[in-house]
Structure formats: structure tokens, C-alpha cells
């Protein structure tokens, strides 16, 4: 079973995506900030990370940077999964090493599951 780490702090979205991913046979863990994300990623070594950019107190880009700086975590594929669509952010995310930049409102939960499967080779 593939392990997915979802970095998100909106309870409604967590509830929805977690339900869908589990239905599809994927394990979804959730973290809300940088500290939690790094700790969880190091402990669980997920197959993929879904990262929101606008978090309550943090900027998702900083988390992406920290992940890519960490030798053990740098190889984990990261998808930026957000509703904040800004050209500069997209470019910067991809430059920092994100594999994709997906706008939540533009895809259904099924579609994001398919994209995750595609990348993890599930």
C-alpha cells in the first residue's frame, strides 16, 4: 500500500480527500506545518507528498525547500496541491523540484488519485 502525506489544514478538505484516498487503497497521513511534515516524512518515508501553499501560519514553499534540502527526503516526489494560482508560485515550485502544480478546484478527488497513482507507479 502506497503512503501519501497530505500537508493541509482545512478540516473539510482533509475529511474528503482522506476518505477518497482510503477508498482507493492508498494510505493518507496528514500534517499541518513544517515541523510535523518533516518529522512524519522522516519516520514514515511516504511515496508522495501533496503540499498546499497557503497554510494557516506557514508558506508551503518553505516546506518544499526544506524537503528538497534534506538528503533523505529530497527524492520523494512532491505535488503542489493548492487553490492559490499565481504564475510566479508555479514557476518557483517547479524550479524547487515539485513534480506538478495542481489547482484543487480544477480536479475531482478521483482525478487527483489517478495522478498520484501515475507518479508513484501504483
Amino acid at each position: 500500500m502506497k503512503k501519501i502525506l497530505f500537508v493541509e489544514d482545512d478540516p473539510d478538505q482533509i475529511l474528503m480527500y482522506q476518505a477518497k484516498f482510503e477508498m482507493e487503497g492508498l494510505l493518507m497521513m496528514v500534517s499541518e506545518n513544517e515541523k510535523e511534515t518533516l518529522k512524519l516524512a522522516l519516520a514514515e518515508e511516504p511515496d508522495l507528498i501533496l503540499l498546499d501553499l497557503l497554510l494557516r501560519k506557514e508558506n508551503g514553499l518553505n516546506i518544499l525547500e526544506s524537503l528538497k534540502k534534506n538528503e533523505r527526503l529530497a527524492k520523494i516526489p512532491v505535488i503542489i496541491f493548492t487553490n492559490y494560482d499565481k504564475k510566479e508560485l508555479r514557476e518557483k515550485s517547479l524550479a524547487l523540484g515539485a513534480v506538478d502544480f495542481i489547482i484543487k478546484a480544477k480536479v475531482t478527488p478521483k482525478e487527483i488519485v489517478e495522478r498520484v497513482r501515475q507518479i508513484t507507479g501504483d
Binding site: D12, R56, K57, P109
Partner: protein
Amino acid sequence: MFDIYKWSVLIASTLFTTFGFFAYWRNRQDKSNRLFGLLSLVFAVWSYFWFIMLVFGKDAGSATLWARCLNLGATLIPVVYFHWILSFLNLYKKYRFFLIGGYLVTLFFSVFSFSGIYISGVHQVAFFPFWPTAGPLYKWFLFLGYFALVGFSSYLLIKEFFANQGERKYQIGYVIIGSVLGYGGGLTNFPLMYGFDNLWPLVFIGVFMVMASPLVLSYAVIKHRLMDIKVIAVELLSVFISVFVLVDALLSNTQLEFFLKFGLFFGVAIFGFFLVRGVLNELKAGEELVKMAADLQLANVELQKLDKAKTEFLNIASHQLRTPISVIKGITSMMIEGDLEKIPAEKKQTFIKGIWEKSQKLESIINDILNAAEMTNQEYTAKIKQDESFDLVVLLKEIIEGFQPLIKKREMDLILNTADESILISGEKEYLREALSNLIDNAIKYTPSTGVNSESRDKRGERGKIVVTVKKDSSNAIITVADNGMGIPAKEIPELFKKFSRASNARNMYTDGSGLGLFIVKEIIEGHGGQISLTSRIDKGTTFHVRLPLRSSGGTDIKKYIIDKQQV
């Protein structure tokens, strides 16, 4: 050598007279210009008497008289200069007692001007047959008049020079240069009065410095309207020709010649008048053009700012609109795909409730955007009806009642404090409901409490508390909305009521706000002739203060009010 000096002094005198008159004549209403004219006059008195002494001083007796006359001029210069500088720098009120002191001291020395203790006589210096000799009192004038008043003036000038910017700074700079030239030049005369005769070459440098001084000073006085010189030249030319033709006419030999020449004079005078007016109009048009260009530039900067704010707003707004949409779309797509059938009924209910809540969120964001757009739309017509009076206390009770479910969920307290049973107010009830609801809604959003729901994402140990008070004085209703929430950083308060603005700490906490709420509130309150302000302390809370007139003056048209404001 003597001749060069003599004529240089005459030229300096003439320059003082001409430029003094010029500045005075330029704008007689301006006190500073009048004083500059007076200063030039005392300078001229001083230098004309120099010239007279040099040319007409036949013996020691007459030369001493002229020497005393010129020193009377010299005695008056520092205090008049000080007076002019105070007026020029708009410091007259602040230092008027110093000025009165200066005049008293000057009066004292003037009294002794014609006695031996001030100017004891004359003596020969190099090739000058006569030069004034200082009496025992003269050094006190040098200290109290020359050095003290001029020194203090210089200090004020330098201070103002550094405090000012742009054209004013240059103007003060020119005054400083002119003063240094004038007083530096004048200073060269004194050593010779005390018998340091071998310093005579200095007075040559001095006289040229003094000559340059009125040029620089007058330039400073008229610089900001230098273009007017064109008008003056045209005026002078017109007057000169007219006078010439008139004199010519008056000297006519025959009646016919007189009528012809007088006709010519009449024609020239009218032509001159229109010429001057034409030049004046051209200058005015030029000035207006410069002003318009400046205004346009300012408007452009404002537009760029607005454009930046709009882009920022679009980015944030699209995020705010997409977040509920992604949940609504996600859950409904799962329903279509039959996913919801696979989960327990209790959880299913949570999902459906999620759709409901996000739809409401979406509605409120769209309302904010539409309201804000409406507020600035030309079509917007909301006239406050004078006869529509309603009870503000009842309105507030209704609003607070509406918030109760949310308050319970968040484990907060929302209290209304009022000593008045009812406060009747005239105005647009639904708009005021919107404004006051917005204020209370904001207070709820940005006050973390012990309870949490999907509306607010923050939680803390302390219970959130919001107190609304309403009271009235003779003509106003005063409403306050106080919370014990996160507070607003002081430097962001002035920006807060602008469109698309949100405090930085609020941006972190609650990403669903549209950034339009307070803008709408302010527009509504001010449209009713009221005022809104706030006080805030970080982590202690924020209090909004609203003042609303009980009777809006003369049926304010909110639409007109807002449109007018946009145009200012």
C-alpha cells in the same frame, strides 16, 4: 584704482536700488517682498553715501559728515536683514521678541550716529583720501548688530536649508549665498576703520562681492516666478513706447498733428494692453499645463497602486472562491461516482453538511464582492429616506440573535450593552444592518475561542468575548464593537478600510475573508454622515467605534456621495 572703486560703489548702489524696487514692485502685497525692498533701500543709503563721500568729500569736515551718514545706513542693515529673513522663513512670530530687541539696539546706535563716540572722524588710507574712523562705541555695534543679528539669521537660514526640500531649499540656498556675498563684502570695510590700513586690497574684493549680492538675493526672491520676467519686459516696453508717443503728441505744433499722434498713442496703448494680456494668458496656460501634467502623474501613480491591489485581490479572491468550490465539486463528484454509498451514514451526513457550509461561504464571499462593486458603481442608487426611522437597539438585537448559532459553536460570548431602551435613527436600515453585521462578523472571525468549527481555524484556552455597546448623545448614536481577539498591527490600521486590504496576521489565520468587508462598512457609515475608527492592541483585542448621526443631514444620497468621493 580710486576711480574703479568709486564707480564700483556707484554700480553697487544702483543695483541695490533697481533690484529693491523691482522686488517690491513685483508683489507689494507680500510682506517678505516689501521687507526686501526696505533692505535694498538701506543698502542703497549705505552705498550711495560711500559714493558721495568718495566723490564730494573735499575736506575732513564734510567727509566726516558723509561717513556718519553712510554708517547710519550700515547700522540699519543688520536689523532690517534679520526682519526680512524672519519673514522670508515664516519665523516672524516665533522670534518677534528677538526682532524687537534688535530694533531697540539699532535705535540706540542710531542715536549716537552723528557723535564722535560712534564715528570719530576720517583718516587717509592708501589712495583713499578719506575713510571713516571707528569711535569707541562702534565695536559694540559690530558685536551686537553685525555679528549677533547676521550670525543668528545665518543660523536660521542654514537650519531651514536642511529642513526643506525641492525648490524651497534652492531658494534658501540662494539667500545664503547672497548673504555671504553681501556681509562678507561689507566685512572688508571694518579693518580699515580700525587702522589696519595695509588690508586695503580686501575692500576691492569686498565691493565686487557686495555688487553680486543683490543679484543673487533678488534671484532668490523672484526665482519661483522667473518666467514673469517676460511679462515685465513686455510691460516696460509697452509703457515706454506709449509714454514716448504721448509726449510726442503733446508736443504737436498743429491741432491736426495732435489728433493724429494722439490717435497713434491710443492705438499703441490698446495694442500694448492686449500684448501684455496675451503674454499673461500664455504664461497662465503654461502654468496650468505644468499643473495638469503633475496631476496626471499623481493620478497615474494612484492607478498603478490600484492596479497592483486589484491583481493581488484577484489572486486572493480566486483562492477564496476556489476553496469552497473544490470541496463542493469534490464531494458531489464522489456522490455521482457512488463513493458516498460506501461510507457510514453518519460520516455521509458530515459530507453533505460540508457542501452546505461551503455553499454558504461561497455566497458570503460573492456578496462581499458584489456589494463592493455596487458601492463604486455609477448606477447605484440608495437614497436615505428621511422619513424612514427605525430603532437601532432593535436592529442590533436582531443582528446579535442571528449570530447565536455561530457563537455557541465557537464557545464565545456576544453581549449587547445599552442603557437606552430605544434609539430612533433615520437612515437606510438594510445597509446599516449589513455594516453592523460585518463588524460583528469580523470580530467573531478574528477572535480565537475555546471552540472551533470550519469557519475559524484557530483555537485557544481563553474564551472569546465580544461586547457591543450602543448609546446616544444629543445628535449621534455611538456604537462600539469590542473583542478580545488577535488585534491589528498598528502600522496596518490606516490601510485597513481600503478595498482589498487585510491585516497580515489575519491573512494567516483566516484565508476565507474577501478583504472587502471593512471597505463596505466604511462606505455605508460615511454615506450616512457618520464616522468609523478603531483602537487595537496585539493579542488583547480590537474595538471599533462608530458614530452615526440620529438624523442624516438633508437626505444624503449614498450613490452621489460615493461617486463624488471617487472623483476627488
